[in-house]
């Protein structure tokens, strides 16, 4: 079946570096995308979202880029901090009106002080 997946299982960076986490999706009809952060022992926490009519959205220290041509989503974290260490998941809603989020595999981000 169609799925959302991540390229890199683990990303190690130094504090202060910029981090980029990538995600490929296979359903070109996907309408809505979310990045979640999951810390150990906790539930996923919303970071940022983007709809298919946009290609970039910025939050505080985070930017999500959507490339519909190649079905690619990325999360950029500026000035990464040790508190950013977590597993990051991208998720999509496959098509408009269908509310179920489909998650990709996670990427673990490790930030060294």
């Amino acid at each position: 079946g169609e799925s959302v997946g991540l390229h890199l299982p683990t990303l190690s960076v130094q504090e202060g570096d910029n981090s980029i986490i990538n995600c490929a999706y296979s359903n070109s009809a996907s309408d809505y995308f979310i990045w979640y952060k999951q810390e150990s022992g906790k539930g996923p926490q919303f970071i940022i979202d983007i709809r298919s009519n946009m290609d970039k959205r910025q939050g505080q220290r985070v930017t999500v880029l959507l490339n519909k041509t190649v079905k690619h989503l990325s999360l950029q974290i500026a000035a990464t901090q040790p508190g950013d260490s977590a597993v990051y998941f991208c998720a999509e809603i496959p098509f408009s009106g269908y509310s179920t989020l489909t998650f990709g595999k996670g990427t673990m981000l490790l930030v060294s002080p």
Binding site: G43, Q45, F46, S99, T100, L101, F103
Partner: protein
């Protein structure tokens, strides 16, 4: 409430026993979702509700799993005759509408021994 509340936090069951998990969605949210996460890997969708009605149950192993969302009661996910492979963290999420962010609870860790 302002957050999704899941109980219990931990649950240990012997193989073949019943397990029942509870979820109180955020007040005013119409949609409730249940996901299963094994070993911090990707989230497997189980079932969703729109108010008390099943919205999507395509991920539900129907032989042993059942779920309800009744008015004025927490939602529940019940597993009859648990198996070792049911060991996982079960997350509940709620959202106010379709195609919007889902807010997750902290999960219930089910261990089947």
């Amino acid at each position: 409430g302002e957050e999704v509340a899941q109980t219990p936090k931990h649950l240990v069951r012997g193989e073949g026993q019943k397990a029942k998990l509870y979820c109180a969605p955020i007040k005013g949210h119409s949609y409730v979702f249940w996901y299963q996460q094994v070993l911090k890997n990707e989230f497997k969708f189980l079932i969703s509700f729109q108010n008390e009605n099943v919205f999507d149950e395509t991920g539900m192993p129907k032989e042993r799993f059942s779920a309800k969302c009744l008015p004025n009661s927490p939602c529940s996910l019940e597993i009859q005759a648990t198996k070792l492979e049911d060991s996982a963290v079960y997350f509940c999420a709620s959202s106010p509408d379709k195609n919007t962010e889902a807010f997750f609870g902290q999960g219930t860790r089910l261990t089947v021994v």
